[in-house]
């Protein structure tokens, strides 16, 4: 736990499309101090050769259009300006972008699945860079799955531009192979009365640093950001949430929960929320919980809420990291349930409420069995 951070307003002041506008991180910066830079394979200092191979294919709902476009497409970069060095590097380096559009007033009949597959096996491969734009036009509704698998050193930006009265539900699965490195920004820009639901599941990879952010362009936006992670020995899984309330009467709710086990398992959760002076009537809550299943695992959790108006509907945060509760385990064992099974039940219970929120049945089953597999290790 480290609460000695700068004001939120200062932390997110910089943004640029050009990596040269950001100094190369040294690890002492507030936004980089938890990330092991030596494991980023050069994504942060310009030394990563762009020779990696990550393929994207989209299995789209019939109502949804999918385009692969060049760097010059004017729609790209409208909703989001890169907020750190790696994000700007990804923006400067991608060759093709994927644009997914849900037309006005259309309700997509099934989830659109974006498969992001890394083709690197073993070490010695270069980096890959990507860009995805999801445009949900006014009054449209869609469910999107981002499914990351395979081996890669990958940096990308994902823009969600959600129009007036539209709804987008996203499940992003970081199910990378061992050794993968992924640094990603997900930015959602919500129009008037737009609804955004994000469910992030991070399980695999050597280092994953995912920064979901939300901004509102008009009142009435409603964002719900949920995350589940399971960190094994040696893994670094980092989630950096950033919600910018700059217009009145919007809502945000952040709930991230993680379990950690094994030597060197490291989880980082940063929850930055600002309620600016103009954002009267904001309702926000953020929560992070970490369950440490073994010795040698470490969780850093930093909620950071800055309120610049006196007129809020609700604002709060909570963070707690703890071990398995001996009393829970004793109670279950006292009913004959063996230790391993008791532990499984308690960890399932820890994640249960979150899992219920995943609306895509296959994904929920897959996450459930992934948690099972982690516990069986």
């Amino acid at each position: 736990m480290g609460l000695e951070t700068m004001p939120v307003s200062k932390l997110h002041a910089e943004s640029s499309y050009d990596p040269a506008d950001f100094p190369v991180p040294t690890g002492r910066e507030e936004e980089w101090r938890f990330t092991p830079l030596s494991r980023l394979k050069g994504l942060h200092d310009g030394t990563a050769a762009p020779t990696g191979n990550v393929v994207i294919d989209v299995d789209a709902a019939p109502e949804v259009t999918v385009e692969t476009v060049g760097r010059d497409d004017a729609r790209i970069g409208q909703a989001y300006v890169p907020a750190d060095r790696v994000s700007a590097q990804a923006y400067a380096s991608f060759e093709k972008a994927t644009i997914i559009t849900v037309p006005r007033e259309t309700v997509a009949s099934r989830p659109t699945v974006v498969n992001v597959r890394g083709l690197a096996e073993g070490a010695g491969h270069g980096a890959a860079f990507g860009h995805i734009l999801v445009k949900v036009e006014p009054m449209a509704q869609a469910v999107l799955v981002l499914d990351h698998t395979g081996g890669a050193v990958y940096a990308d930006n994902v823009e969600f531009a959600i129009g007036e009265g539209a709804t987008l539900k996203v499940v992003s699965l970081q199910d990378w192979a061992d050794g993968a490195v992924h640094v990603s920004h997900h930015h959602a820009q919500l129009g008037k009365d737009a609804t955004f639901r994000s469910f992030v599941v991070t399980l695999g990879g050597d280092l994953v640093r995912l920064s979901p952010s939300v901004s509102y362009s008009a009142p009435g936006g409603d964002a719900d950001l949920t995350g589940l992670y399971f960190v094994d020995a040696g893994q670094h899984l980092e989630h950096r949430l950033w919600v910018d309330h700059a217009v009145p009467n919007c809502r945000s709710n952040v709930t991230y929960k993680g379990a950690l086990q094994g030597e060197g398992a490291h989880a980082v959760w940063i929850g930055d929320v600002i309620i600016r002076a103009e954002a009267e009537g904001t309702d926000t809550y953020e929560l992070n919980r970490n369950l440490l299943l073994t010795d040698g695992a470490r969780a850093d959790s930093v909620p950071n809420l800055e309120i610049l108006t006196g007129e809020v509907a609700g604002a709060g945060h909570a963070s707690a990291s703890g071990r398995l509760d001996d009393e829970h385990i004793f109670y279950l064992q006292a009913r004959g349930i063996p230790y391993d099974e008791a532990r499984r039940l308690v960890v399932h219970g820890f994640f249960a409420q979150l899992l219920e929120k995943i609306e895509v049945e296959e994904i929920r089953e897959r996450v459930l069995s992934a948690v099972e597999a982690e516990l069986a290790r």
Binding site: D326, E327, H328, F330, Y331, L332, Q333, A334, R335, G336, I337, P338, Y339, E341, A342, L345, V346, H348, G349, F350, F351, A352, Q353
Partner: protein, 248 residues
């Protein structure tokens, strides 16, 4: 016929000795009441026998049908036929009552019950204890009132059918109606005659519903007097004062 034998049991929490030589034998078909003032070590006896990690056995033995309970893990003791109804049942977030109970029944019986049979047993058990069937989907003990938690403990007792049940202040915090419902559950459990009950209580009230065969007075970490049901009446009239002074 099952027998729980506690022999010269000494138990410490940290450096502090709480139990100082407890001897007690509970056989199937018998109901024993342990009565005593707060802080006399009654609950320590219950938790130590069940294997709670906070309590250290410094000497003595506990045998269930000749098997050394103290050599077993907490779950092995339960599967051997010991049950502890807790004074403060633990809330387990995210684990539903039905999931918890099915896991427990599966573990104790050594095989998963048929889903239909289990659903029927659960419903009957809940009806008998006036537990709303909606509780099956709620998280274990979470948000339950004191009375609901105790009924839930007795529901487990009836589903798991142990050889020996230790009931730790199951009567505390119950109103008269709940006390009657819970007592009826205990009486159903012991009606078969092949189970033993060790009822730990501070008050004589529950003994009017659950008649004991033996009463033991606990003070200063050991049993200081033993008798039949009439001893409970004496305690009702005179209180624990004489025993507390004698053991101090």
């Amino acid at each position: 016929m099952s027998t729980l034998e506690i022999r010269d049991l000494h138990v410490a929490v940290g450096d502090k000795e709480i139990l100082r030589g407890v001897n007690l034998t509970v056989s199937a078909g018998e109901t024993h009441a342990i009565m005593g003032p707060n802080g006399s070590g009654k609950s320590t006896l219950a938790y130590a026998v069940a294997g709670h990690p906070k309590y250290t056995i410094t000497s003595g033995s506990v045998l269930l049908d000749g098997e050394d309970l103290l050599a077993m893990s907490v779950d092995e003791r339960a599967r051997a036929g010991l049950f502890l109804a807790m004074q403060y049942p633990v809330e387990v977030p995210g684990v539903s009552v039905s999931n918890f109970l099915r896991s427990a029944v599966t573990a104790v019986r050594g095989e998963a019950p048929k889903l239909r049979d289990f659903a029927r047993d659960l419903k009957n058990g809940m009806d008998a204890l006036s537990i709303d069937s909606a509780f099956a989907q709620r998280n274990t003990n979470e948000g339950f009132s004191g009375g609901e938690k105790k009924r839930h403990e007795i529901l487990q007792l009836e589903l798991l059918k142990p050889k020996i049940a230790v009931l730790d202040e199951t009567d505390s915090g119950l109103d008269v109606d709940a006390l009657r419902v819970v007592s009826e559950g205990i009486n159903r459990f012991r009606a078969s005659g092949d189970t033993g009950v060790l009822l730990i209580t501070h008050y004589t009230r529950i003994l009017r519903y659950v008649q004991p065969d033996f009463v033991h007075v606990f003070a200063g970490g050991r049993i200081v007097e033993e008798g039949g049901p009439e001893l409970a009446d004496k305690l009702e009239d005179e209180g624990y004062e004489a025993y507390v002074k004698a053991s101090a």
